[in-house]
């Protein structure tokens, strides 16, 4: 389970990927963290005349949500993936949004009280009573990973952690892949009340290992160039981002669910995600593969057809996720553009010397191929990671 605590002004968001704004963003972010702790758990009604209640969509927001999902300013949710999804949905329905910023522990009570019409950034596994909601369609994937300080011993499985190892976590969050180990003492939680603080903890080596969402980590690394994160990730779980309509809400559930379906089908969700969280390629293989971490030179040699064997032996089967992610990978890892790579693989293909990486539009299809094909390796967005996969290479996050 994930949530986020952060604050940041919306106008800076679209500039968040540019270096010029990073300093300002970081400063405001830190200021916002302090403010976020003081946010009163009360409804944020728009100023002015009271709007028609039938045209108001009451949406819950969790204080501990963090960038890139949520940005708070003075306790108000002003931007982020979650914010934009809800705003876009409301615009489609001709409604205004009334956001209830609450501590994580008080959201369920607000739903029970009938104060909430819509919850987002939710999974069926994250609520005690999923039957209390009408569930919208899966919108995109969320991956939770374990990572560490650059001085921490890299691990490829949880069993490699010594008994009682401290893991950086967020207060009130449930981590299904780790709960058993927390409960029996094999691992120990080191809670902070916000995702950002958990990520910053790694820099201070308060916890040599932390657990977090991949987009949150990537956003943190892009905006903290001096970070001390290690260049490995251990996938722990994958879930689907959904919105859900409480059964006791006052807005027609079918109306909202149909609007969510339309929103999902329109491609607008992908655009919103891209605005805040550009694709972050990672090179993965099936978790049981004997291949360990690869160097950038080894990866480039494989994907440019210069190496015919995997380190340790075996004929590689290459794959890739399509779209912008592919271009990012070509640019930063292979140091080529798409046309150059296409020309290289055209030479390989039409001379019968090899076949270009097999391309997949959907992460699910790519994962299935990786698991069913011997020696398959492919690059995909870090949000598509799950425990059946292992990361064998990841380029530095946030390259210019």
């Amino acid at each position: 389970m994930n949530a986020h605590d952060a604050a940041n002004p919306m106008p800076l968001l679209h500039a968040a990927r540019t270096g010029a704004w990073r300093g300002a963003l970081r400063g405001l972010l830190l200021a916002g963290l302090t403010l976020a702790a003081m946010v009163p758990a009360e409804a944020q009604a728009p100023a002015g005349a009271r709007p028609d209640p039938s045209k108001v969509l009451r949406v819950s927001a969790v204080q501990s949500w963090s960038a890139p999902y949520a940005f708070y300013r003075d306790g108000t949710l002003v931007a982020g993936i979650n914010h934009d999804i809800v705003q876009t949905l409301a615009e489609q329905l001709g409604m205004s949004v009334q956001t209830l910023v609450l501590p994580r522990t008080r959201v369920d009570a607000a739903v029970l009280a009938g104060d909430v019409d819509l919850r987002c950034h939710l999974s069926r596994d994250w609520v005690r009573n999923p039957e209390a909601y009408h569930w919208g369609p899966p919108m995109f994937e969320l991956a939770t990973v374990l990572t560490g300080h650059e001085s921490a011993v890299p691990i490829t499985g949880l069993d490699q952690l010594h008994r009682g190892q401290t893991i950086g976590t967020v207060l009130g969050f449930v981590y299904p892949a780790l709960e058993d180990r927390f409960n029996d003492g094999r691992l120990r939680r080191d809670d902070t009340f916000a995702v950002d603080r958990n990520l910053q903890k790694l820099k201070l080596i308060r916890s040599p290992y932390i657990v977090s969402d991949t987009r949150e980590i990537d956003w943190h690394l892009r905006n903290n160039p001096g970070h001390l994160f290690a260049n490995w990730r251990l996938p722990l779980s994958r879930t689907e981002f959904r919105c859900a309509v409480p059964r006791n809400g006052r807005v027609d559930a079918q109306l909202l669910l149909a609007a969510l379906e339309r929103l999902q089908a329109s491609g607008r969700i992908e655009q919103i995600i891209k605005n805040y969280s550009p694709p972050q390629p990672v090179l993965v293989m099936a978790a049981q593969s004997p291949v360990k971490l690869l160097s950038q030179q080894q990866v480039a040699a494989l994907f440019l057809g210069e190496a015919l064997e995997l380190p340790g032996g075996g004929r590689p089967a290459l794959g890739s996720q399509g779209g912008e992610l592919k271009h990012e990978f070509y640019k930063w890892v292979l140091e080529k553009d798409a046309a150059q790579v296409k020309a290289i693989w055209s030479r390989m293909t039409f001379s019968g010397r090899g076949r270009a990486p097999r391309e997949f539009a959907q992460p699910a299809a790519l994962r299935a191929w990786l698991l069913s094909t011997p020696n398959a390796l492919a690059f995909m967005d870090s949000s598509g990671l799950d425990p059946t996969l292992k990361v064998v290479y990841m380029p530095p996050v946030g390259l210019p």
């Binding site: 210069e306 190496a307 015919l308 064997e309 004929r315 089967a317 553009d337 798409a338 046309a339 150059q340 296409k342 020309a343 290289i344 055209s346 030479r347 293909t349 039409f350 001379s351 019968g352 010397r353 076949r355 097999r358 391309e359 997949f360 539009a361 299809a365 299935a368 191929w369 069913s372 094909t373 011997p374």
Partner: protein, 421 residues
């Protein structure tokens, strides 16, 4: 024939367990279809000499726009593309002097890779003579509109029916690749046929960082079944031009059973956005039917986003020694001039130099639009007539052309759209 696909399927069975549904563009995990093509237009500017992009094109441009030069469409089917045993079948439709646009099998071979560094092949294979031999038709994979004619037109044999082996091995900081082929081939012409009863080619390529260096050697045993050409030589040998030694010279210098060899050296150097590439070749034979020649080219290109401007220069020079035809004493001066002209003509002294400039625009991931201009200048002969990538009529005594003389220069514009799928 049914057995082969079944064997291939069995070979790939290990990877055919719980396959995900094929993505669009994938026929199946065991079958892959790829293709490439070109929509090309070109125009030469001269009224006497014509130009064709490929020496095997049926037609040439003589101050007119033509669309049949580089235009082509090819499809390649690969059976069991991920397995150690696979079948590759490539079909090409491109204007040809004999076949015109009828599709023909360019490659059809069975490849077996007992270990990843080694690939053994049997069937119709690419003849590894030049840097771009394996992909000389895949224009999308090249910066230029087409391989440099200064070299590539000197060897019209691009494929053989036979056996081949490719061995690639990382060695220290680089990789060595050896490509060997042995087989036979035939080249059909409108005037006959050249049969190669034995061709052996070996190419060694060293790749290290930004550098690629390639050395090649190929040997040919040819049978020139060219009735028209041989009849003309017979006419000379019979003394029709009052030649006193033509019979003996032609018997020694123009056997129809030819032994030839081609040596090549190629390099490619990439530094950032810049690429420098070049090739040199030397062709030697024991017959004037395959005249001795040296050729080279060099090309410099720079990537600027999706645009790649390039410039290049190439040269072909025929180095066949004079035949030394002698005229009988007392024959008219015209006979002596004719023998001298035929001597020069048979040296195939059609050397030329080419300057090129162009721009490649990668307008989409699978599309490249290319603008290209080439200046050609014959550096050896401009009167004796020539038929090939550059053609011009022969004046007497070789031919009957009496029109305006060619100044030896030619300019060609090309606009091509290359694609792969």
């Amino acid at each position: 024939m049914l057995l082969l696909p079944l064997l291939l399927l069995a070979a790939g069975a290990t990877s055919a367990r719980t396959e995900p549904a094929p993505e669009p563009g994938e026929l199946a995990d065991w079958l892959k279809l790829d293709g490439f093509g070109t929509l090309g237009a070109y125009r030469s500017n001269d009224a006497v000499a014509s130009m064709r992009p490929d020496a095997r094109n049926a037609n040439a441009s003589l101050r007119d726009w033509r669309f049949d030069g580089d235009s082509q469409l090819s499809a390649q089917l690969t059976l069991n593309p991920n397995g150690p045993l696979r079948l590759v079948w490539q079909v090409l439709a491109k204007d040809d002097i004999v076949l015109r646009f009828r599709p023909r099998t360019e490659w059809l071979y069975l490849a077996w890779e007992p270990t990843p560094p080694l690939s053994l092949r049997a069937g119709r294979l690419a003849l590894p003579v030049f840097l771009l031999s394996e992909t000389r038709n895949v224009a999308y994979a090249q910066t230029n509109v087409r391989p440099y004619s200064s070299l590539y037109h000197l060897n019209p044999i691009s494929k053989v029916d036979g056996l081949g082996a490719i061995w690639r091995q990382a060695m220290g900081p680089g990789e060595l690749s050896l490509d060997a082929v042995h087989g036979r081939a035939q080249v059909d012409l409108t005037t006959g046929r050249v049969k190669a009863s034995a061709i052996t080619a070996l190419a060694a390529q060293w790749q290290q960082g930004r550098w690629t260096l390639r050395l090649g050697r190929s040997d040919y045993q040819l049978d020139a079944q060219l009735p028209g050409t041989l009849a003309q030589l017979q006419t000379l040998a019979s003394g029709a031009t009052a030649c006193s030694n033509c019979a003996a010279v032609l018997k020694a210098r123009a056997p129809s059973q030819v032994r030839a060899a081609i040596n090549t050296l190629g390099l490619n150097y990439e530094r950032g956005a810049w690429t420098l590439s070049g090739e040199w070749m030397q062709r030697r034979s024991d017959s004037i039917l395959v005249a001795d020649a040296d050729a080279w080219y060099a090309q410099l290109s720079r990537r600027l986003g999706s645009f790649t401007p390039f410039v290049g220069i190439g040269q072909t020079r025929f180095v066949e020694a004079p035949l030394g035809f002698q005229t009988v004493a007392g024959a008219p001066p015209a006979a002596q001039a004719a023998n001298a002209a035929f001597d020069r003509f048979l040296q195939s002294a059609n050397g030329r130099r080419s300057w090129q400039a162009g721009l490649r625009w990668d307008c989409a991931e699978n599309l490249a639009l290319k603008f290209h201009i080439e200046w050609l200048r014959n550096t050896q002969e401009i009167r004796l007539g020539q038929i090939g990538s550059v053609s011009y009529p022969a004046t007497p005594p070789i031919g009957n052309y009496r029109g305006p003389a060619w100044d030896g220069q030619l300019r060609v514009l090309s606009l091509n759209l290359d694609f792969v799928f």
